[in-house]
């Protein structure tokens, strides 16, 4: 199975996200967006709006200053 | 061990190495340069670290680093340099790190001069740096005592987890006297310091912080320090009584001044004056209890200092409401008084009794 065929799951740990939007900015596949709903910290966290587009490049996890994003394969 | 005829500055360094001190950081300043020079020559041989720092500020922070990992560590300086170290002293007190800081006091303020003086009493005993802390202060009056109290300073620092100051002056540092040194301590045999940062290994990680943003937590920390200082006062206060058995008049003096006072008292005794000396050996904690006890039967106290009057405030505090007379005679700025001068002053106040 090539990487392309793999399925990835992006999960934002909602209450750890401060809504900086860097993951949204740097995701080439536009998987993420800023949620209109506030989290417990009072920020608009990122959320996976387009999860099936994820290619597992992990850029979102690298640019996240708050270790708020988890990416799973399979 | 045989006696050694050694200068005060060299003596402190040798005693420190024998006490298990394995790191020394310092910056040159007269009149204590010989201390660092001795360390440079001997510390590495003892398997320890000597490093001449770029500044007093850097030196005291290197002390913090070495103390934080559990090593017996010392720095030394003289008045202007000790002012620069105050930032680090405050941190040491806050962190509760043991370290020994030597101040061979010189005339001031400012650069002042390099002659013996005692103008840093307030700075030493009142904390000196920012924040609500005190530093135990030991004030030797002979080269032998420099050795003994250097060893004591390291023991106190470890036992109470606090920076400890050893204060002398240029005369103490330059003077040679016969000294018997204690046997060397192997630092490996000293009690473990479980709080020291030695890498987490397989255990939990630890941190040492002096920033305590929570007000109540900060307050708790401050009261904890106060309790520590109380125990110190109860258990570690030291002083010497000299010719006090039948004394009707008490001189209070420390360090070099106390030696000169002893000379003066000898003279006064020859003239039939019943004079004795109380010499505080710990300036903090101050031996106030003994002074209060004496004040029950003795009404006349005279304080000698090589300053314009700093320790005299502690004497006044100690004897508050005791209804006794407290006089003061001081020579600041590096003028060394003579026994003749002091004995004249004793006579003057004694006559008024």
């Amino acid at each position: 199975m090539s990487k392309k065929d793999k399925v990835f799951t992006v999960q934002v740990r909602r209450d750890f996200c401060k809504g900086c939007g860097l993951c949204v900015e740097y995701c080439k596949k536009e998987v993420l967006q800023v949620s209109p709903r506030l989290n417990r910290l009072g920020y608009n966290p990122a959320e996976a709006a387009n999860p099936e587009a994820c290619i597992g490049c992990l850029v979102c996890t690298q640019v996240c200053p708050d270790l708020a994003i988890e990416v799973y394969s399979g | 061990m045989d006696k050694v005829f050694i200068s005060g500055n060299h003596c402190i360094a040798e005693a420190a190495i024998r006490a298990g001190c394995r790191c020394y950081f310092g910056y040159p300043i007269t009149p204590q340069n010989e201390l660092g020079e001795y360390m440079a020559a001997h510390m590495r041989r003892a398997g320890g670290v000597f490093l001449q720092s770029e500044s007093e500020t850097a030196a005291i922070n290197m002390v913090i680093g070495a103390a934080s990992v559990g090593t017996r560590v010392m720095t030394s300086s003289s008045s202007p340099g000790v002012s620069l170290k105050q930032e680090g002293l405050s941190f040491l007190a806050g962190f509760e790190f043991p370290a020994v800081i030597v101040n061979m006091m010189r005339g001031g303020p400012g650069l002042g001069n390099i002659a013996p003086a005692q103008g840093d009493y307030f700075q030493s005993t009142r904390g000196g740096g920012h924040g609500d802390y005190r530093t135990p202060v030991l004030a030797p009056a002979s080269v032998q005592e420099l050795a003994d109290l250097t060893v004591k300073a390291f023991a106190l620092a470890d036992a109470y987890r606090t920076p400890v100051m050893l204060v002398g002056d240029g005369m103490m540092g330059q003077m040679k006297e016969p000294v018997t040194f204690p046997e060397p301590i192997d630092p490996e045999t000293l009690p473990a310091k479980p709080w020291a940062l030695k890498g987490r290994g397989d255990g939990p990680s630890r941190y040492q912080a002096s920033l305590i943003l929570d007000g109540l937590e900060m307050e708790r920390h401050n009261w904890k320090l106060v309790r520590k200082y109380k125990v110190l006062a109860e258990q570690e206060t030291m002083y010497e009584s000299y010719m006090m058995d039948d004394a009707e008049f008490v001189v209070v003096a420390y360090g070099t001044t106390a030696r000169i006072a002893k000379g003066a008292i000898k003279r006064a005794r020859k003239d039939g004056l019943k004079v004795g000396l109380i010499r505080p050996i710990t300036l903090f904690p101050f031996p106030d209890k003994v002074l209060r006890e004496l004040a029950r039967s003795i009404r006349h106290f005279l304080v000698f200092e090589m300053s314009t009057g700093q320790m005299v405030e502690d004497v006044r505090l100690a004897l508050e409401n005791c209804g006794v007379e407290i006089n003061f005679h001081g020579r600041p700025g590096g003028v060394i008084p003579t026994p003749v001068e002091f004995s004249r002053v004793i006579h003057r106040y004694y006559r008024r009794m």
Binding site: Y26, Q62 | E54, T57, G65, L197, G201, A209
Partner: protein, 254 residues
């Protein structure tokens, strides 16, 4: 399902940092923790955190940490490393800390070639105190204490402290990177690894200067702040390896 980005072993689990949204500190903290794990150094790590925004770094790092007075990080690091050479010693500092009040300590620890690693966060501003001008603020940069922009005639020029220390014989490795882009973050990770390996090999002082966004004090949103790093800051502070004397040092050591 397999988690691809495992939580770094030496980063405390499930702690929400006090850093502002989009702050570069969080990224660099994670990289430090990851590289320590990669090189198996966490068990003997000793990190000095500065007075500044990273003063609370011990809330996040899960290895031994001590706090320093403003500017004194490398003096404390020197004391600790000299006393216990077996420790892996890092001084984590900001630009006010390292290049203003701590200039002397920086210069001299570097010049002595202390076998320590310095992580230098350059965000061209005093962060924790509320956005005052730093030695590293760029010309024209508006801050709380240069409201009309940094004017070299009054305020002097941006200080390139890492370039200064890179010229010292005692400095084995110095690199400037940024954490404003994914590629920059990857380079930063690599630079931190090089620096850490330098200490492990006993080659001397290493420093990684990280250009890092401070959206709050720059009064920008995080994305614009990252762009400002890439478009403006890098003009003043060019990323790249500033010195790499490791090969010479290895030969010296024999």
């Amino acid at each position: 399902m397999e988690l691809l980005n495992k939580w770094p072993k030496y980063y405390k689990k499930d702690v929400i940092s006090h850093y502002c949204p989009g702050c570069g500190h969080g990224i660099v903290h994670r990289l430090v923790a990851e590289v320590l794990e990669e090189l198996d150094l966490g068990r003997k790590a000793y990190l000095v955190c500065p007075a500044g925004c990273a003063v609370l770094a011990y809330h996040y790092f899960d290895f031994d940490v001590i706090e320093s007075a403003h500017g004194r990080g490398t003096a404390i690091a020197t004391g600790a490393k000299r006393a216990r050479p077996e420790l892996f010693v890092i001084s984590y500092q900001g630009d006010g800390d390292l290049s203003a009040i701590g200039t002397a300590e920086t210069i001299h620890s570097a010049n002595r070639g202390e076998n320590i690693c310095v992580i230098f966060i350059n965000n061209a501003v005093y962060g924790m105190t509320g956005g005052q001008m730093a030695p590293t603020s760029v010309i024209g940069q508006s801050t709380m204490t240069s409201p009309e922009g940094r004017n070299p005639e009054v305020d002097g020029y941006p200080l390139h402290i890492t370039d200064v220390v890179a010229s010292f014989p005692g400095v084995a490795y110095a690199e400037r990177t940024s954490v404003a882009t994914p590629a920059g973050i990857r380079k930063t990770r690599k630079a931190i690894r090089q620096a850490f390996e330098t200490q492990v090999e006993g080659l001397g002082y290493s420093i990684v200067e990280v250009l890092s966004p401070c959206p709050t004090n720059w009064k920008m949103d995080p994305v614009t702040a990252c762009r400002w790093v890439e478009e403006e800051m890098v003009k003043e502070y060019k990323p790249g390896v500033l010195t790499d004397k490791r090969e010479e040092k290895r030969k010296e050591k024999g």
